[in-house]
């Protein structure tokens, strides 16, 4: 299983905090998130793990963190992955975190994300397909799941989440503009090169045609009776 290029999303900015966050805190957040999901959407786990329990490696390409996700009807697990676990998981799903979250909530189509190469899959495809279909069959609402998991602090959590989403959208907008400013000169140059290459290809094709025409005119005419070009020479 291979490493993907980082995706240019606002989650990249979270990496310094994630790298320096206490491992126990990250594990606890993961455990809490999984307990909430299992409680709210238990049928998903039952449907997917009907035949067997299995583990996946979830690799957000914009985070310096991978997740080990165990799909089990009764004891699912989500935690930061260790390097060695690449060997033990059934499949790996890679993509930018926003796309993975959209897939989880069914707001983006998995096949479309795959066609566009936003999402990459390695390993046992049938398990990933089964999970995708089971998730898509539910109406998963992360915003409600997060706010409800805060109990009496739910309204405050909802307000905080709303603010975070607003900041995220602003960051995304600014980052897109930055990316555009950085890449547009190179993109323009590439476009110019592409146009010149196309023009040269046309010229080359015309030259080839001219050469072929000249060769036809200068080829010596066959002498004697008509013969089969493909006939094998007969040994005397």
């Amino acid at each position: 299983m291979t490493e993907s290029h980082p995706s240019f999303t606002p989650f990249l900015l979270a990496n310094p905090f994630i790298r320096n966050a206490p491992a126990l805190l990250v594990e606890r957040i993961c455990r809490h998130a999984m307990a909430t999901m299992h409680h709210r959407y238990r049928p998903v786990f039952e449907r997917v793990a009907e035949q067997e329990a299995f583990a996946l490696l979830i690799s957000p390409t914009d985070l310096d963190l991978q997740f080990y996700l165990k799909i089990d009807a009764d004891h699912p697990e989500l935690r930061p992955a260790r390097h060695i676990e690449e060997e033990t998981v059934a499949a790996q799903i890679s993509g930018p975190l926003p796309a993975l979250l959209e897939l989880l909530q069914g707001t983006s189509d998995g096949d479309a994300l795959f066609f566009s190469r936003t999402l990459r899959i390695e390993g046992r495809t049938e398990l990933v397909v089964a999970l995708r279909n089971a998730l898509d069959g539910e109406s998963i609402d992360l915003r409600s799941a997060v706010t409800e998991s805060f109990g009496v602090m739910g309204p405050a959590a909802r307000a905080a989440l709303g603010l975070a989403e607003k900041i995220y959208r602003q960051l995304q907008h600014d980052m897109n503009r930055t990316a555009d400013a950085l890449t547009s000169p190179t993109a323009k140059r590439l476009l110019g090169v592409e146009k010149r290459t196309s023009a040269q290809a046309v010229t080359l094709a015309e030259i080839e045609k001219t050469i072929q025409r000249r060769n036809r005119h200068t080829r010596p005419k066959p002498s004697g009776a008509a013969k089969d070009d493909f006939a094998l020479p007969v040994n005397p």
Binding site: S4, E102, G106, S108, F115, R124, V129, G137
Partner: protein, 325 residues
């Protein structure tokens, strides 16, 4: 024209109904339908609830039972037909003549549609299915041009349904053995083309390698869009050239020719994609609903904005405007 939309899960059915479908088609969770993918399709209880929900909103439900029964296991297919009738679906989509006869004999009042899997593409074949089994609609294979569909509609007594959007097939529908050759399982018998258990992807540097069984289907460069891992859409090398020998990874989209299809006498438009997510269903069904409504209001310039959902992120009008023989 009736808008016939796919649903692989109850959530997708709800999405289709909300987006403006006239009809939703779905299948049972077994080999009786041609989209037998892991985690997809309906249990009997789910279909019962789905039919109730759809009917409440004035939407019909069709049940696809369109694979070919395996010898000695016909009971599974017979039960699917019986259960579909008992649940109250509005039509059953069938392909096998034995199953059509079973449905005709045991459920004479059931509305029967002929699946694309039967590959009935000419007047005589369609007349046979109509006369022998009382088929009232035929889903036309994706091999016919618009003119051929128009001519056909003038000569047959049954309604026609044509594909309007979604994945393309290699135009030997119901008769293709490529998946079976590569994996031992086929859409015709097992309800699955290129079963996911036989599909493998490998990230090799900047390229993505897709395999089906022991066959390498394609090696995509980093800037290329990806298609489904089917042999018919593989890129192969022949005579020192590599390319898509059978079919390119692309999707059908007839948005721009909806008025012409209506004029050709088509009764219903089918959107492919029971294996797709509810986001796809919402967007595609919503877009077609809007286009059909605009056309009904006399605005004939419907334009598609669905290319990001297409396989290979490109689209075609397929054989409808075919330039080949």
């Amino acid at each position: 024209m009736e808008l016939v939309c796919p649903a692989g899960t109850p959530a997708s059915l709800h999405a289709a109904v909300a987006a403006g479908a006239d009809v939703v088609y779905c299948g049972f969770r077994d080999a009786t339908n041609a989209r037998n993918f892991p985690g997809l399709n309906f249990s009997r209880a789910e279909l019962r609830d789905a039919v109730k929900h759809a009917h409440k909103h004035g939407v019909h439900v069709y049940l696809a039972c369109n694979t070919y029964p395996q010898a000695g296991a016909e009971e599974i297919w017979h039960k699917a037909v019986d259960d579909a009738v008992a649940i109250g679906v509005d039509a059953i989509i069938l392909a096998d003549i034995g199953l059509l006869r079973y449905a005709r004999d045991h459920h004479p009042d059931a509305r029967l549609h002929l699946s694309v899997q039967a590959s009935a593409s000419n007047e005589e074949a369609i007349r046979f299915y109509h006369q022998e089994f009382g088929v009232r609609r035929v889903v036309l294979p994706r091999v016919l041009s618009l003119d051929e569909i128009r001519t056909l509609n003038q000569r047959i007594q049954v309604e026609t349904e044509v594909f309007a959007f979604g994945g393309m097939c290699v135009m030997a529908e119901g008769r293709c053995s490529l998946s079976s050759y590569a994996t031992g399982e086929s859409p015709n018998m097992n309800g699955v083309c290129s079963p996911a258990a036989h599909v493998h992807y490998e990230e090799r540097g900047d390229t993505t390698v897709s395999r089906l069984g022991n066959f390498t289907i394609n090696i995509y460069d980093s800037d290329e869009k990806v298609g489904y891992p089917t042999l018919c859409k593989g890129r192969f090398r022949a005579m020192d050239k590599s390319g898509y020998l059978f079919e390119e990874p692309t999707s059908l989209d007839v948005t721009a020719m909806l008025p012409e299809l209506a004029d050709a006498g088509v009764s219903a438009l089918k959107i492919e994609g029971r294996q797709r997510g509810k986001a796809y269903i919402s967007q595609v069904v919503g877009a077609f609903r809007t286009s059909l409504d605009r056309i009904a209001e006399g605005q004939l310039n419907a334009r598609s904005k669905l290319s990001t959902l297409s396989e290979g992120q490109s689209d075609t009008t397929g054989a409808y405007r075919r330039s080949w023989q």
